[in-house]
Amino acid sequence: MSAILPATDTPFPDGQLVMVEPVSFTGTGAEYFRIWITNTFLSIITLGIYSAWAKVRRTRYFYGNTRLAGASFDYHGEPKAILKGRALALLLLVAYQLFSEMPGLLAGALALLLIAALPWLIWRSLQFKLYNTSYRSIRFGFGGSVSGAYVAYLLWPAIASLTAFLLAPMAHQRIKRFQHSESRYGASRFCFDARVGRFYMLYLKAFLVFMAGVIVLGLLLFGLQVALGKRGMALEAYGGTLVFMAVLYAWVMLMYPVFNAMLQNLVWNHTAIGPHRFESRVAPGRVAFITLTNLLAIVCTLGLYMPFAKMRLMKYQLESVALLVDGSLDDFVADAQARAGATGEGVADLLDFDLSL
């Protein structure tokens, strides 16, 4: 499974040998289908209480089937802790719904309060998620401070929106830097060296891809209109606009996974742990293809394909990542003090954040 390659890249200037250890994922759609159905069923008949246990089961299945250098990952989340988090989230949502019916000032104050609480929730959620993940019996962890979380998740987005999003790529870099450079594996820190310029390049590239798509789609539709027009079958202006809007919408939907793929490559190609670097080679076009065919299959099977779709995408994304091992993976030591509370995780889960870790 591992290949020995002479180092040619800059990360290894002294010309040592590195082992390329690709991630492998052995989860299958058929098995996840059974897990999904059984756990959703149990969640429904227990009025949602079981959903916390279901989350632990699902996550353990994903982690246990993710292998790297001859070992798999494990998840240690406590269902009761997750349940507490979810109950809190539900309470927040209900409170928000109730108070948003109140006169303007109160609703506004509550919204502000929620926004102010978000960085804290994200921070707790990162701690919980990483602390409850282990590899080779060593727990991950998150060392970022709560003030760091407020800077990354409140200050930077605020600055970005105040500058008409000209600073959005920079804010994005700060968020990713906070997430990655504050992550720990045992007592060792991850290190993140993607500079702001790279993020501007990423946004520029994504924008160019998007515009190219819009132009190509526009020309195609225009050509089609002209061709149909010769046969007297052209759509009237209103119908034509409608079709263009629908195609444009589909393209915007596809841009999301494409952008995420480019982001995954950027972020992981600039992440290291000790002397070992990561390498991510997701092909954005391939991800777009998988997403599109997944969506079609889900609609055609009335939703039954969903677990298969999830496993298919997950397998591709995970197996595009490799660890370039410089030396041995045997020398990481556990962090004796690490501990993490649990409230954040369930909340973030229910409010549906994508923390893309």
């Binding site: 089961r57 001859g70 590899y135 969903m306 779709a309 045997d330 020398d331």
Partner: protein
Amino acid sequence: MSIHAAYFDGKTSRRYRVVLTVEGDVASISGEASRRCPLSQLRVSEASRHGTRLVTFPDGAYLEIEDREGFARMLAATGHTDGLVSRLQQSWRATLLAALAMAAIIALLWRFALPVAADLVATMLPSSVESRLGDATMQALDARLLDASRLPEEQQQHIRTRFSTLAASTADTPHFELLFRKSRIGPNALALPAGRIVLTDELVLLLADDEDALMAVLAHELGHLHHRHMVHRLVHGAAVGAAGMALFGDASGLVAALPPLMLDLHYSRNAEREADLYAAHWLKAGGLSAASLAAALERLNGAKDDKPAYLSTHPATAERIARLCKLR
């Protein structure tokens, strides 16, 4: 009985190659590391088709076992059985049963529990909330779709008077307020939360020669008010939307929104039928005929073409007319 395993001690990331042996009630490992532990203190991870299995010691150290068959035999010999959920997950038959039961439960909840819940919410909803809902809707409509009416004041007054007289002759006419607007979307009439009925100039002109038909359309809107369809539909939409998100949110927001959309359209078509029925009775009580509503629908239908029934907010006009004719 013994099998190969990898041992991780919880202190470093080192992978120790070991052999796991079970003798009586005690498991022991030997090789690059050695350790003994009573079986009762070990925790075994759930089986999966292709994944490895973990045997965890009380202190968090664990064994990772790739030899699935060998380990299954070892577990069987020690009398270990997988948990109930784990066994259900591995069985296609249990999965199929769970899927069928789930479909049945969801269908029953939607069919029987949701209408009751929506009724409850509608009754408990403070009238101030409903009227604010109505105000907000009206503002949005005025901003995007409606302009001030161009109908002469006396014509408006005439319609108002006729409709109020009819309303006075029926016992359970809900509270209403009739508003005239010029429309950017053709002839239409709308009922909003908290009692507003919006009548467009275009509709008044379309039915200028048949005032009974105009009254019938207004009666239909009264039906929406009577059944409080708008509030019900909001509750219904929120419930099916949340359910869609919970079931299919994993895949994509778009996919998760499709089933709720179909159900919402279904709800809307049913609401139209209910409003038609109410209108028919209301008209009869006022000395008019349900045929007036049928006539209005026929005229309105001439103004637009039909979509497939399941994609439409309203039932097919022919179906509605046939129903109304049966009521006469």
